[in-house]
């Protein structure tokens, strides 16, 4: 076996051990940097690189040689300008300096609640997407179709290009092929409603003005976010990534009533299928640690703020912890201070296993970090966070059979057809067409919903 293959084997086994409830040989170093950071590192014009993602490869290769990580240092990107431009997005627009800006735009009005509750998918397609995307205009149907077709072609092209770079690096440097964006992605129903539909301010009002409708809307959106997150392949190692936004800003009473039920159900239903989630607990979740404990065993909890000791104590035996180490340190502290500090985090979080190293959040710009601090921290984790009891059982063990959920309401809409529905309308179609047509149906669903996250 080549050195690279051997290294990749080691990396696969440390991740798999964590997910299989075993103490790994060492703590996985899960550092991956956003597109913009790496483009700036490579001295590229940000605008050009995002329009033509292939040109970032050289910079990616160089950063992979510079910074140690067990996953590809290049995260890829979620947001390329091509499809947002084609669809005239209101909420994702490229600024003059090349950054994709994300201003807050209200996609759903309070008077849309009833329709959203009755026919969620229809409401999203007929009302919300046209407000967020001016070139998806139902009043101009032919151009609407043309623009939509162009945008999805652009989307496929750009994601393929950056995906190919990631695959290439995984081969070349033997990374663990399970980066953040490699599994499923979705949002909690309440966050889906808050983000691009009602907005942060809108939802804050709705919580007080019409809590019943908010709750009903979360239930209505459930089948959509559930379906959106399903990973293409289910294994003990694929993760559904779910960033969580609103809870730190809510009262616990409102959280318990409006946020938690549909979110908890989502994770339980995934767990009943053997699917694990990585949830990004943005901001400070200290108030909610007891709730988090109730989530399915081996949920990966990525924390931004909070007391590492308390978190480890309360949750470390059941769940996998990651995050917490402040990425800000890499800018404001010296290399020596950064290294000392990361050892402190490791001493608290690593014992007993179920820990993956990551920062509290991703840097936004290359100038947000000092490269030498980043390198030193990554190498310290690799060399310092080594276990002497590898192979032992780590905390509680996941068992799929522990999770039972009533099957959820299906996605029903005139804009989405299961094969059976399609076949009933088009009896002449051969069954040979089934996999292809069904796959296209799913692709369109995923793309349309991606536009709203």
């Amino acid at each position: 076996m080549t050195d690279v293959k051997a290294l990749q084997q080691e990396r696969i086994s440390i991740y798999h051990d964590v997910y299989d409830d075993k103490i790994p040989k060492r703590v996985p170093v899960n550092i991956s940097l956003p597109f913009e950071v790496i483009a700036q590192f490579g001295g590229l014009d940000l605008c050009e690189a995002q329009w033509n993602p292939a040109i970032i490869e050289e910079a990616v290769d160089k950063i992979c040689q510079t910074v140690y990580s067990d996953v590809c240092v290049f995260m890829g990107s979620f947001r390329y300008p091509s499809f947002y431009q084609i669809l005239k997005s209101q909420s994702f627009q490229m600024a003059s300096n090349g950054f994709i800006q994300h201003p807050e735009v209200t996609g759903m009005l309070p008077e849309d609640y009833d329709y959203l509750i009755e026919k969620p998918y229809d409401c999203l397609l007929e009302r919300v997407i046209p407000r967020q995307y001016k070139a998806f205009n139902p009043d101009d149907p032919i151009n609407c179709a043309i623009n939509f077709a162009k945008s999805i072609l652009a989307f496929n092209n750009d994601f393929m290009q950056s995906g190919m770079i990631i695959n290439k690096m995984e081969e070349k440097y033997g990374y663990y092929p399970g980066g953040l964006l490699s599994g499923g992605f979705t949002e909690a129903p309440f966050d889906f409603l808050s983000d691009q539909l009602r907005g942060f301010k809108g939802i804050s009002m709705d919580i007080r003005r019409m809590p019943e409708k908010v709750a009903a809307a979360c239930d209505a959106l459930y089948p959509i976010v559930f379906k959106m997150g399903l990973p293409p392949i289910i294994s003990n190692y694929t993760q559904v990534f779910i960033p969580l936004h609103m809870p730190p800003f809510m009262r616990e009473k409102d959280f318990a009533k409006l946020y938690w039920p549909s979110f908890k159900r989502l994770l339980d239903e995934y767990a009943s299928m053997g699917i694990h989630c990585t949830i990004f607990c943005e901001h400070d979740w200290t108030r909610y640690l007891d709730y988090l404990y109730e989530l399915p065993t081996d949920t990966t909890l990525w924390f931004e703020y909070g007391d590492p000791k308390l978190i480890k104590e309360k949750l470390g035996k059941k769940h996998i912890i990651t995050g917490l180490y402040p990425v800000m340190n890499l800018k404001t502290k010296t290399k020596e201070q950064c290294v000392e500090e990361v050892k402190r985090y490791i001493d608290i979080l690593a014992p007993g296993g179920k820990y993956i190293f990551n920062f509290d959040k991703s840097p936004l710009l290359f100038s947000d970090i000092k490269l030498e601090c980043l390198c030193a921290v990554a190498e310290t984790v690799r060399d310092y966070a080594v276990y002497s009891n590898a192979g032992e059982t780590a905390g509680m063990v996941f068992n799929k059979a522990d999770y039972k959920v009533e099957p959820s309401r299906n996605l029903e809409s005139k804009y989405y057809k299961t094969w059976e529905q399609y076949k009933a309308l088009n009896p002449e179609v051969s069954d040979f067409g089934r996999p292809k047509l069904q796959n296209l149906e799913e692709t369109i669903f995923h793309y349309l919903m991606f536009l709203l996250v």
Binding site: F200, M328, T332, L365
Partner: protein, 217 residues
């Protein structure tokens, strides 16, 4: 007389409880019955202050502060308030200009800080979001504030904030003002690096610091 006291208390209490409908109903009724707009405004402010207190005590959270801000605005937009009420507050503690710094569009925190400053007796000028160092420098020259508040949540704002402070130094106005930073990611180290006078991770702590800096506590 007894009746009137009850109405005042009720207004304050319904603001505190974020009961929007009740606030508007009571406020309209009180105005029609001849309550002075300025007096009503004081009641609403008192209610919002109590909301701020509940927030400090971790009984209320950001979503509640947003709602309180909204109720405040709605009362100001009542016909009688708009017509009669001209803002001429004699007992202003000081003037602050605030803005979300270059590169950042997050304005929820900034709006909350600004709102709390206002109910605490400051006059606040809002420069908006994605505000450049030039606009801050012009703002300082134009409005002659006592305090400049820089808001931001993105990690990249550390450099934007530093550039703004540096620009104020270059423009020779740095020492005419106090500079306070606000954002959940800020630390003592970041504040020193930027060269501001102080920072806050929280709006009500920020208001206290502002009062302290002007010697009002």
């Amino acid at each position: 007389m007894k009746n009137l006291i009850t109405v005042e208390d009720l207004i304050i209490k319904s603001v505190e409880e974020l009961d929007e409908e009740k606030v508007i109903r009571l406020a309209s009724k009180a105005l029609k019955a001849g309550m002075e707009p300025l007096f009503l405004l004081d009641l609403i402010k008192e209610g919002v202050k109590r909301v701020g207190k509940l927030y400090e005590d971790q009984k209320y959270f950001i979503a509640d502060l947003i709602m309180a801000g909204l109720i405040f605005k709605e009362v100001l937009e009542l016909e009688e308030m708009k017509v009669q009420f001209r803002r001429r507050n004699s007992k202003i503690l000081g003037r602050v200009i605030v803005g979300t710094v270059k590169g950042d569009l997050h304005d929820i925190g900034k709006d909350i800080f600004k709102g709390l400053m206002e109910v605490n007796g400051f006059e606040a000028v809002d420069l908006g979001v994605d505000v450049s160092k030039e606009v801050f420098a012009q703002g300082v020259i134009k409005y002659k504030p006592d305090i400049v508040g820089l808001s931001g949540v993105l990690t990249s704002t550390i450099d934007s904030m530093k550039e703004i402070v540096d620009t104020l130094v270059d423009a020779g106005v740095r020492n005419d003002v106090k500079i306070i930073l606000g954002g959940s990611h800020l630390t003592k180290e970041a504040c020193d690096y930027i060269g501001a006078d102080c920072y806050a991770n929280d709006a009500s702590a920020g208001v206290k610091l502002c009062k302290q800096m002007l010697g009002k506590i």
